[in-house]
């Protein structure tokens, strides 16, 4: 499969799928995300792995299960992001997944804490992130594992109504809208 290059300054590509093809499109999306890389034109030799965003019309266990089922067992860890004030969970899971070379699937049902937005932005820009006061360090820093990815699952209505950061979708490379 040809590797697609995304321009960081452009809005992410939208991929709309039909209901009957839901699972297969998710598989294609994950395959693309695995191989899809982008670069900053000012640093052409630095290849960046994108994070992915899946927008669900309605987030329920079936829909989420369908998405997660499209990934091989053990490839990913999943978590719920349902608290807009607490980010420690996200950091712990992200660091753990990154160390293990796993993907982190985040089922997001509330406006993420500013620290989460910050981490997503750093990952999208540099494929590395820093967290204050983490694992006993004043400033913890980590490079993304080249085989790890972060995928956010979010319900359409949460994206429209709850997310306050105006450039939220720009934090991701490929975006899949599942009807």
């Amino acid at each position: 499969m040809k590797i697609k290059i995304t321009d960081k300054d452009k809005k992410p590509r939208k991929m709309t799928t039909k209901t009957s093809q839901e699972k297969s499109d998710v598989v294609v999306f994950f395959e693309a995300l695995e191989k899809n890389t982008s670069f900053d034109s000012r640093e052409p030799n630095k290849i960046l792995a994108d994070s992915g965003l899946i927008i669900l019309k309605k987030s329920n266990s079936v829909a989420v299960g369908n998405v997660l089922g499209a990934l091989p067992r053990g490839k990913a860890v999943a978590m719920k992001l349902d608290n807009q004030y607490f980010a420690d969970d996200f950091f712990k899971k992200l660091v753990m997944a990154n160390r293990e070379g796993q993907w982190l699937i985040v089922e997001c049902s509330s406006d993420p804490a500013p620290a989460v937005i910050q981490t997503l932005k750093q990952i999208s820009r540099d494929n590395e992130f820093s967290i204050s006061h983490f694992e006993g360090k004043e400033l913890f820093s980590m490079k993304m594992n080249p085989i790890s990815r972060v995928v956010f699952l979010i319900e359409d209505s949460v994206l429209e109504k709850d997310i306050t950061y105006p450039y939220f979708t720009n934090l991701f490379g490929p975006v899949l809208r599942v009807k």
Binding site: I5, F39, Q118, K121, Q122, S141
Partner: protein
């Protein structure tokens, strides 16, 4: 030796070598210097002519250089960042996404602190608050189950409970304090003391509320196992064992205005950073002294192009060195970089990132405010006052516009000027004087122009207004309106500065030598005139047409 030729001084030769080195190295190079007093070796990185001490290794610097394509626009921006870092003046870049704001600030951080050094960053969101900026209380080392429990408590107290109520109250107090400060009802010291009091209330009360809520929920983490986690601002000032960090505040304009104003505390003497942040109530610590590595750079999108209302609050604008990255420059830069096919076309890549020759600051600065019995300082202060007054007057009358989709619209982002820019400009003059290549003396007019561009003109988005301000500078320095009486003669400011710079640059020995030379030249001129007169006389005496009576008179005979 012809009159227009002269020998270069040792300093000039050094500066020339630095320039050659920069050209060879693509504008950035690492070098070491040994301090003759203590024998210690220090590492430096020269960034486009600006010398900065670095923790990075030579390999780090080379690796960072290789990674990036540095267009002329980026070089200009990176040089500004290096200058502000060196002077520890807080900087804000305002521009479109992809303009290179955060990218270049981060690059400087890496050039100075090492390729793998962690970068302290605060990405602004509409929900960024004192929790991220100053800090918050939290239980230490939570296990999985404890984490879940604490999450629920937070949801409760933050979302609808007592802490939310307290935060609202705190916000009101903070807003009032900010308003009093902006209106000039209180001064910087009173503002900082007021802020200290509010912060004390914040720290103590938030601890109390969180502990009580935890006890109510039977979350049994003893008080001793709670800690105050310093936010980005306190970390920047006093983290890393007191050395501090460079802090990048991205998307600053999205942070709610009352929280933006927490950063008013960073404002210090001479338009630079404050020596400490007043933050009371955390284990008795009341002041977070600024460490030697502390510095803050902000990035902001144009609020006119950002969803919602999101200007940077006016009092902050005066506290920062503000540089608009014009959209036209970004478009040009992106176009040139695109044509390198992602850096694959080596010739084009080399063309785009060729070192754009720049002025190298002089090796030894003239103490402009002390020499010549302060005569040079007085001239400079008068000029700066004139420039500042005229710029502010013009800005208040005309304002600024921004090109949005091909249309010039009046800017929502307003600027405040309350006298910090001249102070910054003086610090600039202490550090970045440039030389007049013709005379070899410091060119104060050119140095002032560079500083005026950096602190004043760069604040403007409209190209025509920027040009108008440049014209204003030249009018004041070289035009008739700026002329002043100097030693009984009307001269332009540029001429006056050149005369004074020459006098100030001369050491007593050199001055004596030059006076000798000048005396000798005068004597030679007189001698030459005598010879010319004698030749003329001889010619007249040899001329048969001249009456003998006249010849006798010429010979001095009666």
């Amino acid at each position: 030796m012809p009159e227009n030729l002269r020998f270069q001084s040792e300093d000039e030769i050094k500066e020339q070598e630095t320039l050659e080195h920069l050209k060879e190295e693509g504008g950035i190079y690492f070098h070491q210097e040994t301090n003759p007093e203590n024998g210690e070796t220090n590492n430096f990185v020269n960034i486009l002519g600006i010398e900065v001490e670095t923790y990075a290794s030579e390999e780090d610097i080379e690796s960072i250089k290789k990674e990036m394509i540095l267009s002329p626009v980026d070089q200009d921006l990176l040089r500004t960042i290096a200058q502000c870092y060196k002077l520890r003046q807080p900087l804000l870049f305002e521009g479109d996404p992809g303009a290179g704001k955060t990218f270049l600030i981060e690059k400087l951080t890496k050039l100075v602190h090492g390729k793998d050094a962690p970068v302290l960053e605060l990405v602004g969101t509409p929900r960024t608050s004192e929790l991220e900026i100053l800090g918050h209380w939290a239980p230490k080392g939570l296990k999985e189950k404890e984490s879940q429990e604490y999450k629920e408590i937070l949801k409760d107290v933050m979302g609808k409970g007592e802490l939310a109520e307290f935060q609202k109250h705190l916000n009101e107090e903070l807003e009032k304090l900010n308003a009093d400060f902006s209106d000039g009802k209180i001064n910087q010291e009173e503002f900082q003391a007021g802020f200290g009091e509010i912060s004390q209330k914040y720290v103590e009360e938030s601890r109390k509320i969180l502990l009580e809520a935890s006890q109510m929920a039977k979350f049994l983490k003893p008080e001793a196992e709670w800690e105050f986690k310093q936010g980005a601002l306190l970390q920047a000032y006093a983290g890393k064992e007191g050395k501090g960090y460079p802090l990048i505040v991205d998307e600053f304009n999205i942070i709610p205005s009352n929280y933006q104003q927490i950063f008013l505390q960073i404002s210090g003497r001479e338009g630079g950073m404050s020596d400490a942040i007043n933050f009371w109530g955390n284990s008795g610590k009341t002041s977070y002294k600024r460490g030697k590595d502390a510095w803050i750079a902000f990035a902001s999108n144009f609020p006119e192009k950002t969803p919602g209302r999101s200007e940077v609050v006016a009092p902050m604008t005066d506290r920062l060195v503000w540089k608009v990255i014009p959209t036209e420059d970004v478009t040009k830069k992106k176009g040139a970089i695109k044509k390198t096919a992602g850096g694959r076309l080596t010739k084009r890549t080399a063309e785009v990132s060729t070192f754009a020759e720049t002025e190298i600051p002089v090796e030894n600065n003239v103490e402009w405010d002390k020499v010549l019995d302060e005569q040079l300082g007085e001239q400079i202060a008068d000029i700066v006052d004139l420039l500042d007054t005229e710029f502010v007057k013009s800005y208040e009358q005309v304002g600024d516009t921004l090109n949005i989709k091909g249309e010039q619209r009046r800017r929502n982002q307003s600027m405040e000027f309350s006298g910090r820019n001249p102070l910054r400009l003086y610090s600039y003059l202490d550090n970045f004087q440039v030389r007049d290549k013709k005379t070899g003396f410091v060119d104060f007019a050119a140095t002032l122009l560079n500083a005026f561009e950096m602190y004043y003109v760069s604040r403007l988005a409209n190209e025509a207004t920027r040009k108008k301000m440049d014209a204003l500078f030249h009018q004041i320095m070289e035009g008739d309106t700026g002329k002043a009486k100097f030693e009984g003669q009307a001269r332009t400011r540029k001429e006056i500065l050149a005369i004074l710079s020459e006098r100030a640059s001369l050491t007593p020995e050199v001055a004596e030598q030059m006076e000798e030379q000048s005396k000798g030249a005068q004597e030679r001129e007189i001698l030459q005139a005598r010879h010319v007169a004698e030749d003329a006389e001889e010619k007249l005496l040899d001329n048969p047409n001249i009456p003998e009576e006249l010849k006798r008179m010429l010979r001095g005979e009666k």
